[in-house]
């Protein structure tokens, strides 16, 4: 279980961006969050939420291209 126990309205970093906790489902290690300047919510695993931003470079399979069978 994450060292962070998020509460509604808490703010954390989701990778490099700040998010606000909208709802927590602790038994499932999930949280509904929204970006600080957005109203659209999305679901994240609470273990990915951090107190500091992560600016490490990574390469997305979105730009590497995907083929479907």
């Amino acid at each position: 279980m994450s060292a962070i126990l998020p509460q509604i309205n808490d703010q954390f970093y989701f990778i490099d961006k700040l998010v606000v906790i909208v709802k927590v489902f602790l038994n499932f290690q999930l949280a509904k969050v929204r970006y600080i300047l957005s109203v659209e919510t999305f679901i994240v695993d609470i273990n990915v939420l951090k107190l500091e931003a992560n600016y490490s470079s990574s390469i997305s399979i979105k730009i590497l291209g995907v083929e479907r069978s």
Binding site: F28, L30, D45, S57, S60, G65
Partner: protein, 318 residues
Amino acid sequence: MILNYIDTPLDGKSWESLMNSCYRMKFQDEHFTEIPAVHGGDAGIEGFTRLGRVYQCYCPEREYSDDDLYGHLRTKMTTDIKKLTNLTYAKRLKDLGVPKIKEWHFVIPQYRDARIVTHAETKRQEVLMIKRADPQKYDYIDDEFIIVIKQAEDFKVEISRMVRTTVTDMKLNLAISHTSTLDWSECDSEKVNNIKRKVKAVMGDVDESDDDFIDVVGMYVDFYMKGMEIMKILRVSYPEVYEDIYVLEQAYKKQVSMKTKMNIDSSINAKLFNEILDDFQKRLEQQFTYLTLASVMELKQDLVSGWLADCSMEFRSR
């Protein structure tokens, strides 16, 4: 199904370093030579091969609109092609032993419309016009000179191999956005019912009209459907990554099945479920050091949703 991938940072220095490694791997038989910019500058290129290919990297530092992206790519290409026809840079290229330049590669993560291709052709014609005006001065440029735009996708094989073998610090990102707008009717009702039954067993006495119950079931249906899509993509486009995941999942799934079926105390379902989540996450983090943390969590929830949807994870109801 359209998957919305989560954008993660990619800075210019990391991009250049990754591409240098890709060029080294792809063009080793052409005696690829990297040009570090530390002493005397990089001569306007990052490296060259003995067959006359030179390349220049560029990575826009943030997510731009299509127009802005084109604007930045255009400006960068214009600036760098200007350097190519600058005789000061030409002397540096000759001093470095760069052979007659046949191909100038513009290496970028991606482009989204054809305008940059048109601009490359305009610049190619300009370079050849300059050369024709004074062939002696510009003898380092080939008569058949071309500009080639290379994207990350052109190096998919090299990148996935390097990332997997952790030759580079760069990690692979496959995390997607999970919004709650999924149409459940696209999911097999038997799978949805399995998810419902097991979520209920973990939550305890809960009515199916409970908001949290509806939310959690919806999340797992979403993870399940999108997770299957991700696995399909990995199987076709990144078979080695898929194989790594498949082997781990098959082995772990058996343990999960045993652990949950042997538990006769339904009051500890939530505790047991969390122990499984924690342990599986730990295993994923240990094995997939080449994936971003968000990607590891994506896999964790996608695969767990699969166990909830099929028969490998079974909780006794209270």
